[in-house]
């Protein structure tokens, strides 16, 4: 019995971490149709921001939940103004430009922090479920991911900003019709997406350590989660993260982490192949 609880926690953690690493990318892609391939590096910057802040004596939760999103949000803002802004509507070009940015940030981080693994200890102790010990930090990640989903949902459905956001998803004209400059909205969206990427990187940093190339481990997973998720920000994110998270953890637990990762990737290929209209079917409808 305890074992099932432990496994359940692991599975939930798997789903939650996918939600966390995909949320920023998902918002940016869902709203302004930009695939930010520097997303992983935004996470990496979030991680370094956290570790630097902690080393400067700041409380670890403040560093993770406030400093990192703020820093990465600002980085995102600069990137949006300097690069992305000129490429709206050119999907492939934004992918290429952000891929370039990702390399740029890796290089920059290497020059600043060195190509060495750094990390901080997880701030939450483990505890026992029956005979089993679980990592307390996993619960923290699950809670943050759940809160994130709730927050996204309530902002989208319940606020004026959400209305504008949903309008923008229909197309820039709609935003203009609502009386807002699309330019401003795009900027705000990119800021929010980047801040979420920073948050994700900050929260994962104590768990898995950090090198300048850490981002590469996340981008592919985030990418496929978002693409497979489809048009509905929250429901899409939740459904594909759940699917991939369960597949990943089930195979990891039954065999090894490598096979778990491979299973996740194979599941993604199969899903995209057999359901190009399924999960994402609504995606195309009424938009072309």
């Amino acid at each position: 019995m305890d074992l099932y609880v432990v496994v359940l926690v692991e599975v939930l953690y798997g789903v939650a971490s996918l939600i966390l690493i995909s949320a920023g990318l998902s918002i940016v892609f869902g709203m302004i149709k930009v695939i930010n391939l520097a997303h992983g590096e935004f996470m990496m910057i979030g991680g370094y921001a956290t570790i630097t802040a902690v080393n400067l004596g700041m409380n670890v939760f403040v560093a993770m939940l406030v400093i990192a999103p703020a820093v990465v949000g600002l980085v995102g803002l600069v990137v949006e103004r300097l690069v992305i802004r000129h490429l709206y509507g050119r999907l492939v070009d934004t992918m290429l430009a952000t891929w370039g940015l990702s390399l740029f940030f890796i290089g920059l981080a290497t020059m600043i922090f060195g190509n060495t693994t750094t990390g901080i200890s997880t701030p939450i102790p483990g505890f026992a479920i029956g005979d089993y010990q679980v990592n307390g930090y996993n619960f923290f990640i699950i809670v943050v991911a759940a809160l994130l989903l709730v927050a996204m949902l309530s902002v989208l459905k319940g606020t004026r900003a959400g209305l504008v956001a949903r309008g923008t998803m229909q197309g820039p004209d709609m935003a203009a019709a609502l009386g807002y400059s699309p330019d401003r909205i795009y900027m705000a969206t990119f800021f929010c997406g980047s801040a979420l990427s920073g948050l994700a990187g900050a929260i994962l940093a104590p768990l898995v350590g950090l090198v300048p190339t850490s981002g590469g481990a996340y981008i592919a997973k985030a990418f496929i989660t978002v693409i497979a998720g489809g048009p509905s920000l929250v429901a899409g994110l939740l459904s594909s993260a759940s699917l991939f998270g369960v597949v990943h953890q089930a195979f990891t637990f039954a065999t090894s982490p490598v096979i778990g990762e491979v299973a996740l990737l194979v599941a993604a290929v199969v899903l995209l192949r057999i359901l190009p209209q399924g999960v994402t079917g609504t995606f195309f409808k009424g938009k072309t």
Partner: protein
């Protein structure tokens, strides 16, 4: 730091930039020492101190008048933790730079990538890292500890403190694969059994489900030959899950790159290891070495097991050249095979003529407050694992890495 650079430091340029080597003219008559290490990338925690140790050794040799009256010149390449770069730079060292000796290689993967190139081009090669054992090749000299020197000592100690059911978590490449089999053998020899063996590619950093899985098996002891920065997360997550007080940990690699200084005391304390060197060795040789290191680099905190191995390797080669009175490969091999011995920071290191491995001291230790506390010292252990299969005196043409069969 000027040492932590991924470029090619050659000749006078290197001397000028490092600012350590005496600025003497190094022309065609200098002795060329080739070095090939990962001083950047995910293995730089291993490689950078090794590079520093090598330069320290060369500096000391040159300060003492060089070799055969000539200065030693370092030709170093940074392989950036990319195995593919080893063959490229290995070829450049041997074919283009035509160095007199090559010291280097960190992961066993990197050693195997260049070993044949060294052999083909008849370039004497020193691999100064603890490893899985079994390499039998007349062109290579190895002074790191092998499983028979390390695992054989560590396993009974760790099992004595825990129990008979052992779970093994190993890095997924030749070192981890072969070492895991040695661990299984020694566990069985001591009346225990391996209840699980898992291998992890070097980029795996999330061990959550593995930790859950280990609990379902419920071993008495976990032995973890894990390698590199990503794998360090295991020790963190293990502690974060509160497993440290429930199942003891032993490792054949933990601390080799000074990982115990990155972990907090809460995460690291109590992990059992066995090595040839520890900064906490309180011997005159070690204290003097640390002082010389501090004089060169400011402080001695970066010294680790394989940095010392690399230092001892360079010193062993230098001594052999002195005794041979020549840089000729055959002459140097002959003086090494005469059972040459040096006294290094980690004690006496003697070349084993049969295997070209080393006879050396091994210390069983526990991590304590970011240091390694010596529990027991086992003097002058022989590499009996390799000795059992390799005899270069009888078969000088042997060119195999023997692997343990289970």
């Amino acid at each position: 730091m000027s040492l932590n650079r991924r470029n090619i430091l050659t000749g006078a340029a290197a001397a000028a930039s490092v600012g350590m080597l005496p600025r003497v003219a190094m022309g065609a008559d200098s002795v060329k020492l080739g070095s090939i290490l990962d001083t950047s990338g995910i293995f730089d925690a291993y490689g950078t101190p090794m590079d520093m140790a090598m330069r320290l050794a060369v500096n000391e040799i040159n300060a003492a008048g060089g070799l055969l009256g000539r200065q030693v010149e370092v030709v170093a390449y940074d392989t950036q933790s990319d195995m593919a770069l080893y063959t490229q730079y290995g070829q450049r060292l041997t074919r283009q730079d035509q160095v007199d000796v090559v010291h280097g290689g960190i992961l066993s993967a990197s050693r195997e990538a260049i070993r044949q190139t060294m052999r083909k081009t008849r370039t004497l090669y020193f691999y100064n890292v603890l490893y899985e054992g079994g390499v039998c090749d007349r062109n290579i000299f190895i002074n790191g500890v092998t499983p028979a020197q390390q695992v054989e000592a560590l396993v009974p100690y760790a099992m004595g403190k825990s129990g008979k059911a052992v779970y093994i978590l190993a890095a997924d490449y030749n070192y981890g694969q072969i070492t895991a089999r040695w661990i299984q053998k020694f566990v069985a020899d001591n009346g225990g059994h391996a209840v699980g063996v898992d291998f992890f590619p070097l980029d795996v950093s999330d061990f959550g489900s593995t930790i859950a899985k280990i609990q379902t098996v419920g071993p008495d002891l976990v032995i973890a030959p894990l390698v590199g920065g990503a794998h360090l997360s295991f020790f963190r997550q293990w502690a974060a899950a509160g497993m440290k007080d429930r199942i003891p940990l032993a490792s054949t690699t933990m601390g080799v790159g000074n990982e115990h200084k990155v972990l907090t005391p809460e995460e690291g304390n109590g992990i059992m290891v066995a090595y040839n060197y520890s900064q906490e060795l309180d011997t005159p040789a070690n204290n003097a070495f640390k002082e010389r290191w501090s004089a060169a680099y400011g402080d001695s905190s970066l010294i680790h097991e394989i940095a010392v191995s690399n230092y001892q390797g360079v010193m062993t080669w230098a001594e052999a050249v002195r005794q041979a009175g020549s840089l000729d490969r055959e002459a140097v091999i002959a003086s090494l095979e005469a059972g040459l011995s040096i006294d290094g920071p980690a004690g006496t290191v003697t070349v084993d003529p049969k295997t070209h491995h080393a006879v050396l001291d091994v210390h069983i230790m526990e991590i304590e407050d970011q240091g390694m506390r010596v529990i027991e010292t086992l003097p002058q252990r022989q590499p009996i694992d390799t000795q059992a299969v390799c005899d270069l005196q009888a078969n000088p043409d042997d060119n195999t890495q023997y692997e343990i069969q289970i």
